[in-house]
């Protein structure tokens, strides 16, 4: 199985077929790192060769969420500054056939890397793996610019909450201006009960406001925290609803058509919502 590359403005065709997916959000703490770890793991579980890159220089986190923190020798800045070979900085996750992590540098800042460095790094990786999943830092500064520079596809994570939606809209505008769009949307931390009683923005409200394509709905789920405690991706937990949601998103990213899951399996009321969302693919 290989990743199919849609199109890329940045990579030379000779660079290989790997596809770059960047996960970003504007607002902090909405679930970018969680999504990167789980989409990377889910794509790897599907049989693809995947490399995740932690783009949050100075605030390294993807390593602990993936449970690979004790295996770090080199980081992304070491690769870019030529202190090690690309292969040496790719930490292999032994639980999955082909999942790798290139960790962020912890003691440097975002100015250690430029957007063109990221494009070069990604181009080298395209020849090695099917998918490169980049975890963007929050904000709209250098770290965000670095993360989107090599992207073939951008996934915006938001929460059903005013400031996260507002920031997502800013990011969508910036991505359009860079001609990197259209981005796709994941609404994370949905609480079906709150939506039902009218105290949380419903997915269709968020979609109407942001007017971009939906690629996933992820429920609020305690398993997310439990799995980050132990450093094992939730997509490996068959019982977790958030894990199921991330597995579905990974399949959609890989070009499969997967219906949107019923967000309230327990009370059945959001059934109709699930059906409405299903039209989105």
């Amino acid at each position: 199985m290989t990743g199919r590359k849609k199109s890329s403005n940045n990579s030379s065709e000779a660079a290989g077929n790997g596809k770059v997916i960047t996960i970003t959000s504007g607002k902090g703490g909405v679930g970018k790192t969680t999504a990167t770890a789980n989409l990377g793991a889910a794509l790897a579980a599907e049989g693809y060769k995947v490399c995740c890159i932690d783009g949050d220089i100075g605030l390294r986190n993807l390593d602990v969420v993936l449970g690979l923190e004790n295996r770090i020798v080199y980081d992304v800045v070491d690769v870019i500054e030529g202190r090690c070979k690309l292969r040496q900085a790719m930490i292999r996750d032994k639980r999955l056939p082909e999942l790798y992590l290139i960790p962020a540098a912890q003691t440097r800042d975002k100015s250690a890397i430029s957007p063109s460095d990221m494009v070069r790094l990604a181009d080298e990786l395209r020849g090695e793996v099917d998918y490169i999943v980049i975890d963007s830092p929050a904000g709209i500064e250098r770290g965000f610019r670095n993360a989107i520079a090599p992207a073939d596809e951008i996934v915006i994570i938001t929460n059903p909450e005013v400031s996260a939606v507002r920031d997502a809209d800013r990011i969508i505008g910036l991505i359009e201006a860079e001609q990197k769009g259209p981005a796709k949307l994941v609404i994370n931390r949905l609480n079906a009960k709150m939506v039902q009683r009218g105290d949380m923005l419903a997915p269709e409200d968020v979609l109407e406001l942001l007017a971009i394509e939906l690629i996933g709905l992820v429920p609020e789920d305690e398993h997310v925290i439990v799995s980050s405690n132990s450093g094992s991706p939730i997509v490996l937990n068959e019982k977790s609803r958030a894990g199921q949601a991330f597995r579905n998103i990974a399949k959609r990213l890989a070009g499969q058509t997967v219906p949107f899951m019923d967000m309230a399996a327990d009370d059945g009321l959001l059934n109709r919502l699930g059906k409405f969302m299903g039209r989105g693919g």
Binding site: V162, V165, R166, D169, I172, V195, G198, E204
Partner: protein
């Protein structure tokens, strides 16, 4: 659209507030500027035709990710025909 039915409470005000905020964010048009724009528009148009000032409405509408400035400018009937 209201697929979930039910009374929408705080989520409703979140949505309404976000609608306005996003329009101003996207157009870089601060809410207070709309008033100035309205007054200037009335002034320019009044030089040529008789505008019913109190009923002028201008607003920015959202169409997908595009914004449209929509002005509704009712005109006053020519005074000649109305008088007497």
């Amino acid at each position: 659209m209201n697929f979930l039915g039910r009374n929408r409470k705080s989520a409703n005000s979140a949505k309404e507030r976000l609608k306005l905020v996003l329009i101003h964010d996207r157009t870089d048009l601060p809410p207070g500027m709309m008033e100035d724009l309205r007054d200037e528009l009335i002034e320019v148009i009044s030089r040529h035709i008789n505008v019913d000032r109190d009923r002028v409405r201008i607003q920015v509408n959202q169409d997908g990710r595009e914004q449209q400035l929509v002005a509704e400018i009712p005109l006053k009937a020519a005074t000649r025909s109305r008088s007497r």
